[in-house]
Symmetry: C2
Subunit: 236 residues, 2 copies
């Protein structure tokens, strides 16, 4: 089953081979992998499960900056301490590598360094999409973008090549409503109501609190404003 018929392989970046022989760590749901302020002496690569990267304000507010999936790299930092926190949403396994090892790898190999830079660019573009969403889109639009975002990662994680694959009809939402809310700049009640609105309009159907079935993908994409940008384009 390999070769051209093989399902959409995850595009592994070359520099990720520093994790080849690395130790791994198992995480339970809710377990914290890195805390903001800690010395940033390790980097990670997710082997399985889902994690959540966020920032806390001093007054209890929290912004979820990203959900992280298989083969996502964790530990980007310009400084010597983390400026974000990461915790597991589901049970997860991560490969652990000393930052020093990665740095030596990048310093010694221009191809790896270029691949790393490209990854950082992709992260940057994705974040710019988030900025647009937070600044300009309404609650239901943000939720539509979010569902397509989860669908996108589910597709990559499961290595599904065909956009019409029936496995992509149901989207898993392992995180709680409050996590979604803090990702989208909303409150959990608003997330719930917006989801209900999408359902009332026939775009999706809630199967249970952690699964949604997509009923009308074209209209969902239209609502999300897919045609506009980089990352939404990838979502398509």
């Amino acid at each position: 089953m390999l070769g051209p018929m093989a399902a959409l392989p995850l595009p592994k970046d070359v520099f990720l081979d520093v994790f080849r022989s690395a130790a791994t760590r198992e995480l339970a749901p809710g377990e914290v992998l890195v805390s903001a302020g800690q010395p940033a002496d390790q980097v990670f690569n997710i082997e399985s499960g889902m994690l959540m990267l966020y920032r806390n304000g001093s007054d209890g507010r929290r912004q979820v900056l990203s959900f992280l999936f298989r083969d996502n790299f964790v530990g980007l930092s310009a400084t010597d301490s983390y400026f974000f926190s990461v915790e597991a949403v589901t049970r997860a396994r991560v490969a652990v590598c000393p930052r020093r090892v990665l740095n030596e790898r990048l310093a010694g190999d221009p191809v790896a360094e270029r691949a790393f830079l490209n990854m950082v660019f992709r992260v940057l573009e994705d974040i710019l999409d988030i900025v647009y969403s937070l600044g300009q889109r309404t609650a239901s639009e943000r939720l539509a973008v979010f569902l397509l975002y989860m669908r996108h990662w589910q597709r990559l994680t499961d290595g599904i090549a065909d956009d019409a694959d029936p496995r992509l009809a149901t989207i898993a939402l392992p995180m709680g409503r409050a996590d979604v809310a803090d990702f989208l700049g909303l409150k959990k009640e608003t997330v719930i109501r917006s989801l209900r609105e999408l359902q009332d309009q026939g775009l999706v159907r809630r199967l249970d609190p952690h699964a949604v079935r997509i009923l009308d993908l074209p209209r969902l994409r239209a609502l999300a404003g897919i045609s506009d940008f980089a990352s939404p384009r990838r979502l398509g």
Copy 2:
């Protein structure tokens, strides 16, 4: 006046020397430097003036992603076409360099490549602050952050070392209210009202539509939640 007494030099990144012998281009206010979708075959470095980087949605919405100042690099892109637009706010001059030249410079010089990567990291961290603002902060908090952000760049651009320098008491706001609004995810009337609120609370005073005097820097910083993050920390 050079030497240790010299005011806070702009930290020029080594890779910027590709602009040494580059051609320059003069821009009038409102003039467009790059349009989203164009082939990304040039990169720029700002020599003077202020520019604005933004994205347009197909329905007329716009998100200003960043204001750009002297020695800011313009043209980050993972792909071969720009995914944002840039236009001049004030009269401005930029140095222009073919992307190919920059790439060759980076490929041939690990030090330059590392400096470039560090710059991308700084951009990333700044954007994460913006994400937190858009997702979690109220209108007046965002405006407070914005004023400190403008103060920060004014300080760098003017090379002012002392945080208490009287020149930093008045902040220039060359852009229109609608530009500020699209940066902060608000409407221009809300920007105006939030500014009035800051004034009514004695934090600032509007001198004219394009200049604000800061009356109570500590309280402004407290409102902005300065203590929390990377970029606000730099604003202090």
